[in-house]
């Protein structure tokens, strides 16, 4: 798999974001081009949580950043709230930014160590002139309460005084400050302990319900994704492999790569050791991806057709799309 196509798009839905044929390439020296994201299309319907899953280097973080035009993609379209972002000028793009926010992977380094928490949260409010000092102070207290931090205790502290989980709560509060429509969460719990992971995942769910958010949740861990997402998109080497609701994806896996990801999740049960047997090795270089289906070099079902022809996304069950010439049969 790892193919192209738009069969999974929902043009009739109440879409917040529509991404079509997005391509991001980085130039490395003279003739070297890293093809990070190659012709990815998807959409986000209001109120849903789309999880984007894949290994390091599959382009999932680049995809998230390209949506925010950080940097602008090489080609393709990003339509956010009926505005085409790729052609906007600097000023117009800036005006769109409050509605689309991001939460980063490393909660400690994404906060300024010199600023007290109250300043971290006040800064966006002041830049966007959201009220006077009294209103801003009230908003800061509301945000901190929302993420279960006691404003009286934390307001004047700096990021180095907090644990990773608390820093991630502050990052979430900061992302919420300007009442965004959409938040892109880039591996928000990967750097946290399992016990803290669950707290942050629950908090994200609560915030989504409370503020009516639409989320894009980038992760390499299918088990984490299962609890929070309404739709999962599996990526490999800059292409989309499979798109489905989480229950359908795990119970009726069609893509060989998705199956390998599912099998690799460690299960806390000594009777069920994890299996690395489905795929071996690591992804090939994105500078020189394989022809046809990009997964074919590690795929147990690869045939000549896979080298010659790139598979397109097609619907195999209601809401379940796969880009593979030889999907897994029951």
């Amino acid at each position: 798999m790892a193919g192209s196509g738009k069969a999974h798009m929902r043009p009739d839905g109440d879409t917040v974001l529509t991404v079509e044929d997005l391509t991001v390439e980085f130039k490395l020296g003279k003739d070297k081009i890293v093809k990070a994201v190659s012709g990815v299309s998807f959409d986000l319907v209001r109120g849903e949580t789309l999880a984007v899953v894949g290994e390091s280097g599959c382009g999932k973080s680049t995809l998230g950043k390209a949506i925010l035009q950080l940097p602008k993609p090489n080609s393709g379209s990003v339509n956010f709230l009926s505005t085409e972002l790729t052609t906007l000028g600097k000023k117009e793009l800036r005006d769109m930014r409050p509605a689309m926010q991001m939460i980063f992977q490393d909660p400690v380094s994404s906060l300024d160590p010199r600023l007290p928490v109250s300043e971290v949260l006040a800064e966006p409010l002041r830049v966007w002139k959201r009220g006077n000092q009294v209103e801003i102070d009230a908003k800061i207290d509301e945000l901190l309460n929302a993420v279960n931090l006691d404003p009286k205790v934390v307001r004047d502290r700096r990021s180095y005084e907090f644990s990773g989980g608390q820093c991630q709560r502050i990052s979430i509060a900061r992302a919420l400050a300007l009442d965004p429509t959409m938040i892109i969460c880039d591996e928000p719990v990967s750097a946290l302990d399992v016990s803290v992971q669950a707290q942050i995942l629950n908090l994200l769910q609560d915030m989504k319900d409370r503020y009516g958010l639409t989320l894009m949740f980038i992760s390499h861990d299918l088990a984490v994704v299962k609890a929070v997402s309404t739709r999962v998109m599996v990526m490999y080497l800059g292409k989309v492999c499979e798109v489905a609701p989480p229950d359908e994806l795990y119970q009726n896996t069609k893509h060989h790569y998705t199956r390998a990801l599912v099998a690799s999740v460690p299960i806390p049960d000594p009777e069920r050791p994890i299996s690395s047997g489905f795929i071996q090795g690591e992804p090939p270089s994105p500078m020189n991806p394989p022809s046809g289906c990009r997964f074919r070099t590690r795929c147990p079902a690869a045939s000549e057709k896979c080298a010659a022809e790139e598979p397109q996304l097609r619907e195999v069950a209601v809401g379940h799309f796969v880009a593979c010439h030889h999907p897994i049969e029951e």
């Binding site: 669950a198 390499h220 000594p270």
Partner: protein
Amino acid sequence: MSSLLKIDGMSVTFATPRGNLRAVNDVTIELLQGESLGVVGESGSGKTVLSRATMGLLPGTATRTGTITYNGKVISELPKDEVRELWGTGMAMIFQDPMTALNPVRRIGSQLTESLTVRLGMDKKAAKLKAIELLKRVRIPDPESMLRKFPYQLSGGMRQRIMIAIAVSCEPELLFADEPTTALDVTVQAQVLDLITELRKESNMAMILVTHDLGVVAGHTDKIAVMYAGDVVEYAPTRQLFSNMKMPYTEALLKSIPRLETPTGSRLPVIEGRLPDPTKNEPGCPFANRCPYVQDKCRAEKPPLKDAGNNHFYRCWFPIGGEK
């Protein structure tokens, strides 16, 4: 099988501006030859300090008490340079972060042959051949060209394989693996764990696997020590631990792991609250404030390590399933 490592009543404290920080409290653990032990706990539970203290890799601000017996010899009182003699050939360590543990300005070949020439006294040519063989053992394709590469040219999974190759190069009897897969993708994590298990079986190497993830230790260890706030709170053979868990903390840790079976949109069980301040010595069970089964006795008196039979020990007044 004979005893390889015995840690008896080990405590580690660090001198800090806020007072003495107790990182490890009176831990007793025994490991047989070829056996694997998982040490599990949250950040700050003392699991990394335990493994570093055993190897003698503590900073100057730390004080260690208790005895460590390695292959029948007490090593805790040995001077530093004699402990050093054990590194590589006796005990070796794989560190958590493969990005920073390798020297960025030296080629893989020179980092890999260093311990071979220094420890085993090989000449350059023999060391190079051995290095190639080691790279093959950790399944690195085209090992000869790998020797000339720098760490930045490799992926995280490849770097961790190099770290493993360096750690096993002098065929240690005991391998410490400190969160060896935390920085890696799940698919690569599965491969690296399988690789470590295979290497262990080939040479009957014992292992202490330190991790925060019960899912990682479940399939790869013979027994498990669960740590909380510097104490070993539950210590049992792996199957016994999962089938007959006694500690509420172990149960909470297990429940908080996201699983594929988790219904979509459901709330995950969490462990509320935080670890107690390690510089304060408060009475009672350190887990009392976060425990769902807490009773008055737990806040007043710290529970001792109790024996549940079948080599299963726990530290709780009101264990799950009662006293036996």
